[in-house]
Symmetry: none
Subunit: 146 residues, 2 copies
DNA sequence: GCAGACTGCTTGCAAAAGCTAGCAAGCGGG
DNA sequence: CCCGCTTGCTAGCTTTTGCAAGCAGTCTGC
């Protein structure tokens, strides 16, 4: 009933692609998570508080959901909004560890100060990495595939 | 836009999650950051790749920017998108163990490096305390950095 | 065969986002 | 004085989001 599912192969996509390629990634991820959770599209739509057609379009990359909607979907799926934002390409931070996290959320620091601290921290880590030759790259994997 | 909003949102970010407040909050934060960076509205709009009137409306809380726009603004301001999302209420604060604790436990740093980081951190905090004089963000526990 | 309930998808429409063009006010220099 | 350049804000328009309503296909039981 749905033979029309040929992905248009974004490699040769014309200049008309604006919403499609960005939304497709996130939609794929959501659908995958939904299937993993074994719930139907309508169920998730109800859980997330969005309409079922809209969720369908999001999953197929026809619509680009706002951050609010994204957050509600994340809640419905019981996954972190962060993971979803990373998938959506609106958060490119792969997290750097407890220190980085702690600095980022510290409300006692200004953004400039955070940046300085993070820079110093990063330079220390690089410094040590040189010492240990090429052993670096701590936990980079995300994706909570329960 | 969202008259039917039965989701409780667990109140982790704030007691009130009103869209209007949300926009005003984030706008205020952006304007504050922009003034701190000493750049004009039009300059930031160019840096962020958005139109200047739209940025003006965002700062005054008349429009609710999408996550993409937020990210571009964050980039233009050289601040983390995460902080902006938290301000916008679309990202819960990812737990915040004290910075000091995280640094102390970090095995990637030497003791000397830890000391430097802690010193810088504490100096920042003192700086802010003097600057703002008794007005600070909520939930500040006493964390000494010796 | 045919209700009934499930799956997901398509269609039109209201509302909001987001941009282009243009406005009044402030400031320095000729 | 007036010119040019900047500051931020307003008006009107196009594009997109997001939803209500409705459609086709698949099982299950009668």
């Amino acid at each position: 009933m749905d033979p029309v599912h040929e992905a248009d192969t974004s490699g040769a996509t014309g200049p008309i692609d604006k919403v499609a390629d960005l939304g497709r990634d996130i939609g794929d991820y959501i659908r995958q998570q939904r299937n993993t959770a074994k719930i139907s599209l309508r169920q998730l739509s109800k859980l997330a508080g969005v309409s079922n057609p809209y969720l369908s379009q999001i999953e197929r990359g026809l619509r680009k959901p706002s951050a609010e909607i994204l957050q509600q979907i994340a809640k419905g799926l019981r996954i972190s909004a962060e993971a979803l934002y990373v998938q959506a390409g609106i958060l490119d931070e792969p997290i750097g560890g407890p220190v980085v996290d702690a600095i980022r959320v510290d409300s006692a620091l200004s953004e400039r100060q955070k940046q300085i601290l993070l820079d110093v921290y990063e330079s220390f880590r690089r410094e040590n990495a040189e010492d240990r030759t090429t052993s670096d790259a701590p936990g980079q994997s995300d994706m909570e595939a329960q």
